[in-house]
């Protein structure tokens, strides 16, 4: 689709997206297999990318931690992670 090295790329932008990016596809499968977690997810954008229902990021993070996972949370919506930083 690009016309040349300096050309502009046709694109559409999606703002305020909540998603989970896993290290590999089997880990994404493992997360999807967890019923409580899958209820908070909209679906799979790719084999490693899971879309989170709007407004449910905190629930997803809580459930991941209950599973024993230690997710890195990135972004400004989660006030719990921002509020205690120095």
């Amino acid at each position: 689709m690009s016309q040349g090295p300096g050309s502009r790329l046709l694109a559409k932008i999606h703002h305020r997206v909540s998603l989970v990016l896993t290290e590999d596809a089997p880990l994404a499968e493992e997360l999807l297999a967890r019923k409580k977690l899958s209820q908070e997810l909209l679906g799979r954008l790719s084999d490693r990318v899971l879309l989170v229902r709007p407004g449910r990021v905190n629930a997803v993070v809580d459930e991941l931690r209950r599973m024993g996972q230690t997710p890195r949370v990135l972004g400004s919506k989660d006030c719990r992670d921002d509020r205690a930083s120095r």
């Binding site: 932008i13 998603l19 990016l21 709007p54 990135l74 719990r80």
Partner: protein, 705 residues
């Protein structure tokens, strides 16, 4: 301490003057500035604001005040806090043997101003309140400029009549000042645990109350063994709230960012904690039978400046018995403001606040406890230089192979305490405190904005010995584990029309992460270089889906309107259809039997497919789509050999259907002018019509049986 810090009160002074009506302004202008002519309100405000910054004028007015009023201001200045609830001020003037008119006098001078006005109307008078009133409705402040001058007015009020003791005790006990900060850090750490939902409620069975009462770290003994503190668990949580270390969340309290005072040295941190005490709400130095105190009428907020002033009046080397202070306090308070006056609140305040905060020293004399201000206490009272508590251990941390970390108090600083509390879990707070590094504690530290290597560097920098290899390996492993799952709460996703475009975007640095062949992620939307993008559309992820598909006439081909499509469309379409083509700004998909059967096998239902199409295109799943979505053997078809009879008029068809001679031969009416008859019945049909003089024209098709 020297000049009283402003902390924004000068600005508040101007705002408060704005809220005064002209009557109040005239009163203040007359008393403060001796202005008796009637001036406009704005002029009066300016005159008063200027006068309240005029040191010689303030000094004159201070000297004209009654001794009790002077003493009150000096106590507040000595304590170092501008704002007080009205009940505390009332009690203090009561202790000084004066009445509420003292406060009125100060208000009329502009030396006492309301912090908030509950009814929203302008006023300046001090209301009379009863002990059941809500204290928060009535708060007042003294302008810092007035407090700064009040400290310099020679004292005219007689000192408290308490017996002093001149002696040189063999052993003088003084806390190292770390008891309260360590416990505050431990309380802060507890609130990092999302399962510990702390609320300041009065339910004795609540988890928070039970934990406050029984937690061994919060309620553990002090290193310098002296008297027994009271309800330290409640005090610490209350103090953490009062000092801003914990903050209010949506439904419970949370660990907040470390206040700036935790970056100062220990004396200044202790001073800041001392000044936060009037904001305590549930703790009280009166014994409470195990329950947190309600926000009772007083909370003993007035007691802190009072105690400090009494102790500051003593000669530096003089002592006073705690019991003598208690006896002095009995009878000082009227029934209107303090129903129970046993005096033992002083002892509780000494052992719970003054001693652990290193404000007083303690010693034994004649089997009784005696106290006096420490160097820190003298400094807080404005009677001595700022003490320096030099750290004697430059590297106070010792990390052990069992993941325990020994922390020597002699090497602590407030910022070090804050940092280490962020990555470990306190186990005990003795002269050598013990903390443990766990996967969860390190993970919490990483979530607070640190990287694994930063944690290791921090520990190495402050550690007397090299870090154990297993601890280093574990921290690195825990740090790596955290990167196995990334949760983006507010990312920007860019959708490209081809895989090559996505790769090109990654190569140019337009996107940070390639999510799939057509999607890339940008961590910071502000970094997106729009000059390299030709924008098709933009959309918020949390917008509800809207119709963005058109289905072709064949009922199977789907065209996507990219300007209205959302991310989930892509996810769903790949589950139910096959991508045919991306051309220009359009995408085409096609429903096939394979794609639909695959979708049904993966959890889609017919009903869901139908509602999805209605949502996305405005119409139900097409008939062709419905047909392809049917399972094997779902339909049965019948092929019959029939003649179709067509007539010119509906009445003729109706007549043939009604006439008994032909009615039984007709199979099915297809339309008002056509019907079918079985092939075997054609001759009978012809014969019946011949009997009424009619002929049948037969169009003989090629019938392939």
């Amino acid at each position: 301490m020297t000049a009283h810090p402003d902390n924004g009160w000068a600005e508040r002074l101007d705002k408060t003057l704005d809220s005064y009506d002209v009557v109040a302004l005239r009163t203040i202008a007359e008393r403060l500035c001796s202005i008796s002519i009637r001036l406009p309100a704005e002029t009066l405000r300016q005159q008063i604001a200027t006068a309240l910054r005029n040191a010689p004028l303030i000094d004159r007015r201070l000297r004209e005040l009654a001794p009790a009023a002077q003493r009150l201001l000096q106590m507040l200045a000595q304590y170092g806090r501008c704002d007080w609830d009205l009940a505390s001020l009332t009690i203090l003037v009561g202790v000084l043997g004066a009445g509420i008119d003292v406060l009125q006098t100060l208000a009329d001078l502009g030396f006492l101003m309301p912090v908030n006005e509950p009814e929203g109307r302008r006023r300046h008078s001090i209301p009379l309140i009863s002990v059941t009133e809500d204290l928060n409705d009535y708060s007042y402040f003294v302008p810092p400029s007035v407090l700064n001058r009040a400290r310099l007015v020679p004292p005219s009020y007689p000192r408290a009549e308490v017996q002093t003791i001149e002696c040189e005790p063999a052993e003088i006990l003084e806390s190292d000042g770390w008891e309260i900060p360590l416990r505050l850090a431990a309380a802060w750490q507890m609130l990092l645990d999302p399962s510990f939902r702390f609320k300041f409620d009065r339910n004795p069975r609540s988890k928070a109350v039970q934990r406050a009462k029984t937690d061994p770290i919060l309620n553990g003994p002090f290193v310098a063994a002296a008297g027994e503190p009271l309800e330290m668990g409640f005090l610490i949580f209350d103090w953490a709230k009062a000092s801003g270390l914990i903050i209010r969340g949506p439904d419970h309290w949370l660990a907040g960012p470390w206040p700036l005072d935790w970056r100062l040295d220990l004396p200044h941190l202790l001073a800041s904690l001392w000044r936060a005490l009037p904001k305590l709400w549930i703790w009280s130095p009166e014994p409470s039978a195990g329950l947190p105190r309600s926000g009772t009428m007083l909370g003993f907020r007035w007691a802190y400046p009072l105690i400090l002033s009494i102790l500051a009046d003593l000669a530096p080397k003089s002592w006073v018995k705690i019991d003598d202070l208690a006896r002095w306090s009995v009878g000082r308070f009227t029934d209107n403001f303090y129903p129970v006056s046993k005096g033992n609140w002083i002892e509780n305040m000494v052992w719970s606040v003054l001693f652990p905060l290193r404000i007083v020293q303690a010693a034994r004399y004649d089997d009784e406890w005696i106290i006096r201000l420490s160097a820190l206490g003298r400094w807080l009272a404005g009677d001595g230089p700022s003490p320096t508590f030099a750290t004697t251990v430059p590297k106070p941390i010792l990390v052990q192979p069992n993941y325990d970390v020994l922390v020597l108090r002699d090497g602590l600083t407030p910022s070090l305490l804050a940092e280490i509390s962020s990555i470990g879990e306190w186990q005990s707070l003795g002269s050598a405190c013990v903390m443990r590094l766990t996967e969860q504690s390190v993970y919490r530290g990483l979530e607070l904005g640190r990287e694994g290597e930063q944690v290791l560097q921090f520990l190495s920098r402050h550690s007397a010995r090299e870090l154990p290899d297993n601890v280093v390996a574990s921290i690195r492993s825990w740090s790596r584990k955290r990167d196995r799952i990334l949760v983006y709460s507010d990312a920007t996703v860019v959708e490209f029309l081809s895989a090559s475009d996505t790769d090109e975007a990654l190569r140019r640095g337009l996107i940070d992460v390639k999510l799939s062949d057509h999607f890339g992620l940008i961590r910071d939307e502000n970094r997106l270089d729009y000059r390299q993008i030709r924008l098709l559309a933009r959309r918020n992820f949390d917008q509800p889906p809207e119709p963005c598909l058109t289905v072709a006439e064949d009922g199977l081909e789907i065209r996507v309107d990219l300007s209205r499509s959302d991310l989930m469309l892509e996810v769903d379409l790949h589950q139910i259809a096959e991508l045919i083509e991306i051309k220009g700004v359009g995408k085409r998909f096609r429903l096939t039997r394979q794609s639909l059967q695959r979708a049904l096998a993966n959890g889609w239902t017919h009903s869901r497919l139908d509602s999805w199409f209605r949502e996305r295109s405005g119409f139900s799943l097409s008939a062709a789509g419905t047909l392809l979505a049917l399972p094997d053997g779902a339909i049965s078809l019948q092929v019959r050999n029939l003649w179709v009879v067509s007539v010119n008029d509906p009445w003729l068809a109706a007549g043939l259907i009604q006439w008994p001679n032909t009615r039984h031969l007709i199979q099915e009416q297809l339309s008002p002018t056509t019907f079918t008859i079985a092939a075997k019945d054609l001759p009978l049909f012809q014969q019946a019509l011949a009997e009424i003089g009619q002929q049948v024209e037969i169009d003989r098709p090629e019938v392939d049986t």
